[in-house]
Subunit: 117 residues, 2 copies
């Protein structure tokens, strides 16, 4: 490729960075969950369960914990009867908005590209 040493170092950092991202956002569900919360600004457990087609309550529960640990979402328990819980994006979580939007747009294009013809 004819890269300078400096360029090679830069590329390595970029590869590290994207692998860091995917460590946090991997799995079949996380992006969809974030998208659900993102679209509605705040969202309850059972609503997300409906939004994300095919997810089980066990998985949703686990994934929400992961996202909370990574400080992407906030969990708030409302003192109602029966209990309700709402999830919101944190400030840091909101930095994913453009990525979510791009992925949504890309998904539509991809469907056309693969299935459409």
């Amino acid at each position: 490729m004819g890269c300078t040493q400096k360029e090679i170092e830069q590329h390595k950092k970029e590869m590290m960075a994207i692998q860091d991202s995917m460590d946090v956002l991997n799995g079949k569900w996380k992006m969809a969950i974030i998208s659900s919360i993102c679209i509605y600004n705040e969202r309850r457990f059972s609503d997300i369960l409906n939004d994300v087609v095919g997810i089980s309550n066990k998985m949703l529960s686990k994934e929400l914990k992961d996202l909370e640990l990574n400080k992407l979402i906030n969990r708030t328990v409302l003192d109602t009867h029966p209990i309700t819980v709402k999830y919101k994006l944190t400030k840091h979580g909101k930095t994913l908005k453009t990525i979510i939007n791009n992925l949504t747009e890309w998904g539509k294009q991809h469907r056309k590209e693969i299935i459409g013809k």
Copy 2:
């Protein structure tokens, strides 16, 4: 939320779209592989194996097949001794560039956010 019926339909489509995206781009490795090819424009098997930290040859081989099936990359065998194979992004694959770049940038920020302090 007070959504109109039309808005609800729209949101469902968006959820479908992002889940379509993630079906194609899921797993721990695909984004990193695409990034590697994207950075260098074209890239050989053994080079990607080096770029993507931690991947095994078995996984790389499988993931490359997946990506080819989804028309995101092209595989070209060069008639050298020993054989070399190069991978490139297809036109469709290139539409992922902005997402890759955003994810790379986000990964850097996330590292600061979580580990940094």
